[in-house]
């Protein structure tokens, strides 16, 4: 079922290892970083908007 005879065969990719693993590495990196950035943006936006609401409430109650 498994195509490869050994783990080193798998890593070597028939001599195309550099090209194959660079492609997969770059994709994995982007797909890991993009959600981290998005969720961080979400959290900082919420924190900033909460601060604004608190500031507004202070101004109106005074």
């Amino acid at each position: 079922m498994i195509h490869w005879a050994s783990f080193s065969d798998f890593i070597a990719m028939g001599g195309y290892g550099f090209y194959v693993w660079s492609s997969f590495g770059a994709t994995a990196l982007i797909m890991a970083i993009e959600p981290i950035i998005a969720s961080r943006n979400h959290k900082t936006t919420i924190a900033r908007l909460k601060r604004q609401i608190r500031a507004e409430n202070r101004n109106t109650t005074e």
Partner: protein, 248 residues
Amino acid sequence: MKDRFNLYRFASPATFYPLAGAMIPYFVAVSVVFGLAGLWLGMLVAPTDFQQGEGYRIIFIHVPASWMSMFIYLVMAFWAAIGLAFNTRLSGMMAQALAPTGALMAFLSLLTGALWGKPMWGAWWVWDARLTSELILLFLYIGYMALTAAIDDNRRSDKAGALLLLVGVVNIPIIYFSVKWWNTLHQGSSVNLAKSSMATTMLWGMLLMAMCFWMYSIAIAFMRVRTIMLERERNTEWVKAVLTGGEK
């Protein structure tokens, strides 16, 4: 009649915000499952290509990334048309949420294409119709993001962005048919409804990876659209309720 199911309800940010938030984990989970299955088939089971050896395995990300780069643009153009026709608030937010992921997909398509072209053609880059039109797609994404970011007023930035998206949509059929219309170095399509030139395991590996990329794109777009919603609707009651209610 008051309780009648109304699809338009979901077009309101106040309803869509929690719905999108609840759906994100499912899309992530499905994407991971498709990704693992696709990688297992593509990287471990699929046979060697008789022409390109093991180097062809770049296809398992190159084709899904290229498909998504075109598909996301079409979805953005769809939202642009809806926004211009019906003046809906959600459409501009959707387009903006999708743009960075579309740009990244176009970038990945070009990068993995270069990494594939070097060993197969002997060149990282050629000014071939397929490659050039995909590069233009990347520029369209970047142009859209720069344009909408440059205009402070949301309604105006949505309109300007929508126009750019609709004009640029002409590029999508050019990318898609470029390998037929011109004599390109880029190979023709590997997937054909009548007769596929690929082995079954290769084909399934690729389709599973495409599903993985698709679900990933939906999840990340939902994440981003929620941030945009809060930002744009910060003066509305529902955002204040979300923020003071302690919901994340």
